[in-house]
Amino acid sequence: MEEKKAKNIGELLRRIFIFAPSFKAEILNRAGELPPSGLEHLAKILLEVIAFQKEEIKKRQTEDPKFAERVLAVGARARQKVLSARAAQKLAVDSTAIKDLVKKIKHL
């Protein structure tokens, strides 16, 4: 039961993108120390977060019809960069290209 709940946390976190990756990693590491009731409780909060972000995206898409397209385009470009960086085995040391891209996201 406990294991199932813990697995659930991992999956829920994967669906959340309004938390920074470092925060998500921290949640995951520390969730292992929670008692079953705590895990259950955490899962409920995370479900709320997912529902909230779904609403947010819907709202953004309604307000700005180009929003989704922009996200996808940035996603695709980021992925391309990452793949080439990976190919050049630079991912571990050089994240400048990705950082530049993410900076651009801010100005979308």
Partner: protein, 717 residues
Amino acid sequence: MTNNKAAAILPEKEIYPQSPEIAPQGREIEISEADVENAVDRLMIDGLDEGAAVVELVSPDKKKTREYQRRVETELVDSATLERTRGALARAEFINKLAGGEMAELTDRESANIASSLESRSWQKIFSELRQGDTAIYFSMPAGIFSVKYFNDELFGQQLTDEIIDHRKNYMASLAEHHGLEILHQDFRSGILKPNQEKIKELGGPDKTADIMNALGRQLDQAMVKVILETIKTKETELKNSSLAPAAKEAKLKKLDSFKNKLGQWGFKATFGASKVGASPKSGDYTPAALAVAESQQMAQVLRHGEQKKYGGEYDAKFIKAEIGNIIASGKELAGVIKDKNGLPFEVWQTVDGRRTINRDLVRAIRKNKFEPAPGQEEAVKKVEQYIRRVNLLDLFKPLTADEIAGKNSLPGSADDTLKNKVDKTRRLIDLAKMKDLNQADRQAVAAILKVDQKDATCASPEIFHSEAMKMPDAVYVSIDVMDLGVDLLLEYERLLNDIDAGKISLAEASLKAGDSTTKRMREVRAKVAEVCGRYYSKDKIFTLVGGDEVTVALPNGEDINDLLLELQKATNSRVVKTAVGSAERADGESGREDGASLPLPEGEKKRGREDQRLREHLGAIKRAEQGAEVSKAIETARRQAELSLSHRFKSEGMSSEMAAGAARKFLSDIVPDSFVVKEEADGGFVILDDAGFERTREEILQELAEQIASTPQEKT
């Protein structure tokens, strides 16, 4: 060991699948929510901080995002802290019952707990048990990569490090018993033992102090290497299953591996020192006991950093004096200037009050491993590091000043109470508790001792602090972090070593006085905190928790405490951070925040115990002060770096060192205020409040700083 189930079964995440391209630009496609989620997911590149940019992109409602983060953080308060605080609350209830005369009968266990609580208070056992002719054995855990700090921050995290410390304490307790030693004091990094000659004879083991110390050291070494190897395995599994980016994971695993090699090579070398207690000149003067502890600590300290292979050594004044001479000589050989990786020069020596002393900026950076040398400067920096480590020779934490230990001054917070009175009173209560013979008046006396902090009787004990703060409906926590205390302590040791070497003070006197000015400074800070808070709240509403270099005050939520915060900062010259228990996540769901930003509560939350939730909120708010302190540190560091770089520029333009430094300071004070406090906002973000009453975020200040530095200095030339 830690339960890693969650980490272990994280779904395998392929962030960047090798599959074909999605949504090339310009192509007309139907975009589903899932597509958006997937695309954003790909932007969440582990190990990069830019997650925040994605958060910004997708969720313009930062306030709500922060609220969710805070709720999750409250849920994640680590179980060890939660358990410890639950224990403290139970003890507080017991203390209050004792004080109120509500305990008709004490069980055997309760009596034993009273005795051990009293015995463990600020050197009580050292002052009452160490007598003339006794030997004090001090043990110290290894330093550097074997230190608790390194374990905690770099290798294992708090939970596993706490487990290592517990193992060490248990091993030490059983080894001490095995060798006929009594433990007088034991904390996370050191302890003090007293050999019991009769028991030693009975046990038939080694009877020479040096042999006992080396046997203890060897046995502890073997036992701890096993414990640490097990911990490394646990951590490796944890890391392998974690969601960290491959590069970060690899770096951490590599660090563990390199540590494992060093552990195999060096072992876990705790060091021991021993010294005999001399005769006391008069009743009530505990100087000889304190001196024996200080001397044994110095021996342990020298062995800790020395080349010697042995675990323990008996105190030898000549040897220590020679070591002091060597330390001073090694200081003279240090380079005059060292450069950091940006080419900024740091003068190794400064003149303060007419004395030559090591540069405090350098000490601060090197102590925290934050000094990155320029290429070719590594050796010079290493020498400065070694010098700083060796200057720590006198590093012994004493709860009282030399004059209080000698009975010349009364104890803080009680004008007519001397150390002797306190030790005797406590001893009597311990004996009565052990005999289960505490009457009502005695029980109240016990409660009075346990209600106050062991270092400072004007402050609450941790038990009372947590229990009273939990009772406040909307508590506000103000954390006052005294800056540079560690640096000042080191500079105090350096001054004393120079004075010993120059014959201005005896080694014994310096050993007893070392740390006194820091102890006094912290007392002054606590007194000022009480005074300032006392102007805004009645005394019975203020509860203060004493830490090493910090003080945390719990206050009832007032209308506006900006003035109080700024006054506290000015009075104590410290880093001041305010956090608060948010009421949005209340289990009872009765009150939302003032700004109406409360979130709907899920069913399960209502069912949870109200107390448990309140405890999490209370601990969460105290813990968040650390995040606030990080905000403050970022600004302080940026300002210091800017000051250095500006003054270097001004100097290269022909100004004298003093003028350049003054000009840089003046220029920067317009951008970064000299005094400011950090406040947690209702939505969980932090703002910086300066003494002019302006509130800005960290990013705003740093941005302004960067812009001004990029432009103004050139214009000044």
